[in-house]
Amino acid sequence: MAGAQGRDDHFRKSLRFCGWTGVVAVVAFIIGGMLLGGMIPPLLAPDDPAEVFVAKISEHLLAIRVGSVFCMISFALFGSFGAGIAAQTRRAELNPCFSYVQLLFTAAGTVVAVLVAFCWALMAFRPDEYDPTLVQFLADFAYFLAVFSVPVFGGWCVVIALPILMAKDGERPFPRWVGYANLWAAVLFAPGQMVLFFKHGPFSWNGVVALWLPFTAFFLWILLMSWAMFDATKDENVPSRFY
């Protein structure tokens, strides 16, 4: 019937839309967080005095402001990206539980990420009028939101992996290796929590283990899951594939 076929077609298109929002989120972050905003590679350092924070931000004021706009766009798209994944795992679950938990983690993760962009923007709003330590605090807060939030983003990955790995052959929303890749991503986010204990070196919020590792893993993970959503909708005859 045309009605059912139409609905299936609708699902395939909307899942592809969600996959594309993941890709756009990565591109927007590369523009806003990397090329303009100075979030990574990090412009600031946690062991700098507060005055140095103000000086560096004043010097790059416009770039950070424009970068923050792009970051906000990028982070807000985590919502539709995560909802797409949950919609596909939901189709494979008879009584959806993991899919609902995923939606909660998606919502929480989106709020946490959006707050990163808020802090980044406020930092560049009036750095000369704020007390310098307040500027420093906003930068600290932004990085803590991004990498200290391991259980939110790692938990999200784990509840994506579980319904994949626990499903039977032929009823799987995504291929099994995608499940393992999610577990791996969760492991790579974990060292982010070290930022509370160090102000310099590889475990501080500008360091290779606590910043670069989780950020690289996170955005590669988004690209992987976007690809997985595209792959699930490859076949024109069914709304989405099972593996």
Partner: protein, 199 residues
């Protein structure tokens, strides 16, 4: 041109070596974890080059005997777990279950030993903030300890699964993946032990 002979040898070899232990997906996880730890190893080696005295002093304060004991515990655990995988594949679920329980006991021994070692070091006044050696020592052995904890829980789950679930390809896959994770934890410790205690 391929003669029929070489072709049949080629297909025979291809058939012989097409096996993927566990399943393909877990090797993505293993490769990922190996790469992350390779970064950790390189950081330790670079730190050692930057501050040789700090690292030598830190190393001298460690009890190598405890480190060796932990290495032997994980190696013995690996031997028991590998035996469990073999046994489970043969269909002897109860015997396999005992091997995995013994493997989990090795994991618990490792954790208890780490607790003794760390509490001794902390009583001596060492902490991750003391210097770069202790920073690397506590953080990297801590991340590894978390792996051991996961591995121990996985072995307990396998021990139960082998006595409850019927033998077959599904159980084989679950059991082999558990074995692979355990051995990964073992081999990461081998390198960490050499870099942090021995050099």
């Amino acid at each position: 041109m391929q003669t029929p002979d070489t072709m049949s040898i080629a297909t025979a070899q291809a058939h012989h070596s097409a096996r993927v232990p566990g399943e393909a997906g877990i090797w993505i996880f293993i490769a990922g974890d190996l790469l992350a730890f390779t970064l950790f190893f390189v950081l330790i080696a670079l730190g050692n080059g930057d501050q040789p005295q700090v690292f030598a002093r830190g190393r001298a304060s460690l009890d190598i005997g405890l480190g060796v004991a932990n290495t032997l515990l994980l190696l013995t655990g690996s031997w028991l777990v590998a035996a469990g995988v073999e046994t489970s594949r043969k269909g002897a679920g109860r015997a396999a279950s005992r091997y995995f329980l013994a493997g989990a006991a090795c994991g618990l021994g490792f954790i208890a030993n780490k607790f003794i070692e760390w509490s001794h070091l902390i009583r001596l006044g060492a902490s991750p903030q003391t210097d770069d050696f202790y920073m690397f020592f506590f953080v990297f052995t801590g991340i590894h300890l978390f792996h051991v904890l996961l591995g121990t829980v996985y072995m307990l789950v396998l021990s139960r699964a082998c006595s409850k679930r019927p033998a077959g390809p599904e159980r084989d896959r679950f059991v082999e993946c558990g074995g692979l994770f355990w051995h990964l934890v073992d081999l990461l410790w081998i390198v960490l032990f050499a870099l942090l205690y021995l050099i």
